[in-house]
C-alpha cells in the first residue's frame, strides 16, 4: 500500500484526468505565485492621503475601536495615561519590547508603570506598535516577532496600539505589498489582522464585546506625515 500522500495526490490526478500538470501549465502556475497579481480591489480606498486616514478612523470606530489622534510622539504618553484614567484602569501596562516604542518619551508620565515583555494571563493592559493600519475595514496589521509578542494582542482586557498615519494603507493588497517588502523578508510566524475588540454573538446572536480577547481596543494615531 502506498502512503496516504501519494494516494491522495494520485486520486486528485485521476479525478482531473491527467498526470502532474504539463510543463507549460506548471510554468503558468509558478508565474501566478511569483507575481501574485491583485484581483478586483474595491474603490472605497481610492482616496487622497488625509481622507484615507479619516476612512481608517471611521471604519475602526464603526467596529468599536477607539482612536485618539495626536500630533507627535511626544503626545503619546499623556494620551495613554488619560485613556487608562478615563476607563478607571490601573496604570500598569505591559509594553512590547519594540525599539520604535522606546523612542517615545515615556518619562514624561512617570506614573505609567511600564514593563516590557510578553503578556501573562493576568495582565490588565498591553501596549504595542503595529505594522500597518488598513483603511478599507479599519483593520490593524500586527506581526509577531521579538518586538511584538502575540500574547499582547489577546490576553489583556485592554489593548492600546500606537500607530503612525504614514503606516495607514488603503486595501489589503497594499498591506501585502509592504509585508513582502520588509527588510528581513519572509512571513513572520503570525500576521494578526485585528478589526475591533473581541466579540461574540453566540447567545441569541446578540453581540457582546470581550469574549476571550480584549474588551477594549484603543489606537493612539500619530499624525506624522500628512500625505498630499
Amino acid at each position: 500500500m502506498s502512503d496516504p500522500r501519494a494516494q491522495i495526490l494520485g486520486s486528485l490526478r485521476r479525478a482531473l484526468g491527467r498526470e502532474a500538470p504539463a510543463a507549460d501549465i506548471a510554468a503558468g502556475l509558478e508565474r501566478r505565485l511569483a507575481e501574485h497579481p491583485a484581483n478586483l480591489v474595491p474603490r472605497r480606498t481610492d482616496l487622497p492621503g488625509a481622507a484615507l486616514i479619516d476612512l481608517f478612523v471611521r471604519m475602526a470606530e464603526a467596529v468599536s475601536t477607539t482612536v485618539d489622534r495626536v500630533p507627535d510622539a511626544a503626545a503619546v504618553p499623556a494620551s495613554v495615561a488619560e485613556y487608562l484614567a478615563r476607563h478607571n484602569l490601573p496604570t500598569e501596562i505591559v509594553m512590547a519590547p519594540d525599539p520604535a516604542l522606546d523612542a517615545i518619551p515615556w518619562d514624561s508620565r512617570p506614573l505609567l508603570a511600564i514593563t516590557r515583555g510578553r503578556a501573562q494571563g493576568d495582565d490588565a493592559a498591553s501596549l504595542t506598535g503595529a505594522f500597518a493600519g488598513i483603511a478599507e475595514t479599519g483593520t490593524l496589521m500586527l506581526l509577531s516577532g521579538p518586538g511584538h509578542p502575540t500574547t499582547l494582542n489577546f490576553l489583556p482586557d485592554t489593548h492600546v496600539v500606537v500607530l503612525r498615519a504614514s503606516q495607514v494603507v488603503g486595501p489589503y493588497e497594499e498591506a501585502w505589498r509592504r509585508l513582502r517588502a520588509r527588510a528581513d523578508g519572509g512571513m513572520p510566524r503570525t500576521v494578526n489582522l485585528v478589526t475591533g475588540p473581541s466579540r461574540t454573538g453566540d447567545i441569541e446572536l446578540k453581540i457582546q464585546l470581550g469574549a476571550h480577547g480584549p474588551r477594549r481596543l484603543h489606537i493612539v494615531l500619530i499624525d506624522d506625515a500628512p500625505r498630499p
Binding site: I8, L29, P42, R43, L193, G196, L205, G213
Partner: protein, 475 residues
C-alpha cells in the same frame, strides 16, 4: 458523529413542535439576513467579487495537486509539518500521535467543523486527553453534550435561558445565587472559566479557513479571539484542514475574505483574521514550538471531477443556512450530521453516502435563495437534483415515489393518454369532493393531507380549459 440523517422526517417533525427551538430560530432573520443585506449593500463591487471568488476556487481545484504540493513545500520550509490523511480515522490517529509525542493531557480547540466531521472529541477523551472547546457556542454545547446545529453559530438552537441553566448546572463551584440572566454575564463567566483552560493546555487545535500555497500559511477567521489564544499559548499548534481550503496567493485570500464575513455575519471583516506560518522563531517570546497541519481528504477527492465538484468551492460562511426556509423551520439538528442546511444537503451525501443521507437533498423547496446568496455561486439546488437522480438510479427512492414518477413519465410521453387520465382523475376527485370542496385525507397523499387539505378540482382540466379559451378567441 453518528449520523441520524435517515431519521430526517422524524427529526424535522419534532423540531417543528418544539416551541423553545422555534423561538431560538426566530433570531435568524434579524441576526443574519438583515445584517448580511446591509453589508452587501455597503460594497458596490460585491457581485463582481463573487465572480472572482468563484474563478479563484475553480482555478485552484483544476490544479489542486500542484497547489497542495507547493503549499506543503512552503510549510516545511517554514519549519512546519504536514500529515496527509485519507480518512477520519487516519486524521484522528495523526492528531493523537502528535499529542502523545509531547505527553499532552489537555487540548484547547478553536471552532472546527472538520473536528466534528472526524468525531475528534470523543476519541481524544477515550485516549486520556481532555478536549476543551473554546468558542463560546461550542463550549456551551460541549457542556450539554450536543452537536452544533449551525456551522458558525453552533448554539443557535438555544435561548439565553437554556445557556443560563447549562452554566448553573456545570459551573457548580460558583455561588448558586449569582446573577446570570444577561448575555453579558454569561459571556463573562465563560471567559473566566476558559481563561484557566487556555493557560493550562498542552496542545491547541484550530481549523483553517484557507491554506495559502504561496507562503505555506494557514488562515483562521474568528471574532472571539479564542482561536488565537488556542494557537498561541500551548507548546503545539495543530491545524486541521481539508484539502480544498488551499488558495494560490495572499491576494486570492483577500478577495475571498471580502466575501466571507459579509456573507456570514454581515460584518465588513471579522475581528480576527490570523495568518500563521510555521512555529515560533528562535527570537520570539511566545508562540507554539511546533506547527502541524493535518490535511484531510475524507471523500473530497472523490467529488473532484464529478457533478459535485462545485461544492468544493464552499467557504463555510453559512449564508445558505441563514436564508433557507427549511433550515429556518427545523434547525440544524434535524439534518442528523455535521453539516446542515443546503450546503449540508449537498455535502453530506458526498461524505457519508446518499444511502445514509438521501433525505437531505429532498428537504428543499427549491426556492433557490441558497444559490442566490452563496458568495461562491455554488449551484446548490442543481446538485440536490443530481443527488435525487442518483437515488433513483440506485433504487433508493421510496417505491411509491418510483412507481408514481414512472407512471407519470409513461403518461407524459403520450399526450392523448395523459389528457384522458387527467380528465378522469380530475372528474373523479371533483365528484368525490363536491360536498366539502376539499380533502382532509387521501390514499398515497398523506405527505400533503396530514398538514393541510387538498382542494377538490372544480371544472375541467387545465388543458381542456385552455383549449376552450383558445376556441373563444381568448388569450
Amino acid at each position: 458523529m453518528q449520523a441520524t440523517s435517515r431519521a430526517f422526517k422524524e427529526n424535522a417533525g419534532a423540531a417543528l413542535n418544539d416551541p423553545r427551538l422555534q423561538r431560538a430560530l426566530g433570531n435568524l432573520r434579524t441576526g443574519f439576513q438583515e445584517r448580511r443585506r446591509a453589508a452587501v449593500a455597503g460594497l458596490p463591487e460585491f457581485e463582481r467579487l463573487r465572480d472572482e471568488g468563484r474563478a479563484i476556487k475553480d482555478h485552484t481545484l483544476a490544479n489542486l495537486d500542484w497547489y497542495l504540493e507547493r503549499w506543503e513545500a512552503n510549510v516545511r520550509a517554514a519549519g512546519g509539518h504536514v500529515h496527509w490523511c485519507r480518512t477520519a480515522a487516519e486524521a484522528r490517529d495523526a492528531i493523537l500521535g502528535i499529542c502523545r509525542a509531547v505527553g499532552a493531557r489537555s487540548m484547547t480547540k478553536g471552532k472546527s467543523m472538520i473536528a466534528e466531521e472526524i468525531a475528534l472529541n470523543g476519541f481524544l477523551a477515550e485516549h486520556g486527553i481532555e478536549p476543551v472547546e473554546t468558542d463560546l457556542g461550542e463550549y456551551i454545547i460541549q457542556l450539554r453534550d450536543e452537536p452544533p446545529s449551525h456551522i458558525i453559530a453552533p448554539a443557535i438552537h438555544l435561548t439565553r435561558d437554556d445557556v443560563e441553566a447549562t452554566f448553573r448546572e456545570h459551573h457548580d463551584e460558583l455561588p448558586a445565587g449569582r446573577p446570570l440572566a444577561e448575555p453579558r454575564q454569561l459571556t463573562d463567566e465563560a471567559r473566566a472559566m476558559l481563561r484557566r483552560k487556555f493557560l493550562a493546555a498542552d496542545v491547541g487545535l484550530t481549523g483553517a479557513n484557507f491554506l495559502v500555497a504561496e507562503t505555506g500559511s494557514s488562515i483562521i477567521v474568528t471574532n472571539e479571539g479564542n482561536g488565537d489564544l488556542t494557537q498561541t499559548l500551548p507548546k503545539v499548534h495543530i491545524v486541521l484542514a481539508s484539502l480544498e481550503k488551499v488558495v494560490p496567493t495572499l491576494e486570492d485570500a483577500a478577495t475571498i475574505l471580502r466575501l466571507l464575513a459579509r456573507s456570514a455575519t454581515g460584518q465588513e471583516f471579522s475581528s480576527y483574521t490570523t495568518i500563521s506560518t510555521g512555529p515560533r522563531r528562535p527570537e520570539d517570546l511566545d508562540g507554539p514550538e511546533q506547527y502541524h497541519v493535518v490535511l484531510l481528504d475524507n471523500g473530497r477527492s472523490a467529488m473532484l471531477g464529478t457533478e459535485f465538484q462545485d461544492m468544493l468551492r464552499c467557504i463555510r460562511c453559512s449564508a445558505c443556512l441563514n436564508h433557507c426556509p427549511v433550515y429556518s423551520a427545523v434547525g440544524g439538528h434535524a439534518y442528523g450530521w455535521v453539516y446542515p442546511g443546503p450546503m449540508g444537503a449537498v455535502l453530506t451525501p458526498g461524505l457519508i453516502g446518499v444511502e445514509e443521507a438521501g433525505h437531505l437533498p429532498n428537504a428543499s423547496t427549491f426556492c433557490g435563495r441558497c444559490e442566490s446568496v452563496c458568495p461562491m455561486k455554488i449551484p446548490l439546488p442543481k446538485m440536490m437534483r443530481h443527488w435525487r437522480e442518483r437515488q433513483v438510479e440506485r433504487g433508493l427512492a421510496p417505491a411509491v415515489a418510483r412507481w408514481g414518477i414512472g407512471l407519470w413519465a409513461f403518461l407524459a410521453a403520450r399526450p392523448a393518454l395523459y389528457g384522458l387520465a387527467a380528465r378522469l382523475g380530475a372528474g373523479l376527485l371533483g365528484r368525490l369532493g363536491r360536498r366539502r370542496g376539499r380533502f382532509g385525507s387521501l390514499p398515497l397523499a398523506g405527505g400533503w393531507t396530514d398538514v393541510r387539505d387538498l382542494p377538490a378540482p372544480e371544472g375541467g382540466t387545465f388543458r381542456d380549459r385552455w383549449a376552450a379559451r383558445r376556441r373563444q378567441g381568448g388569450r
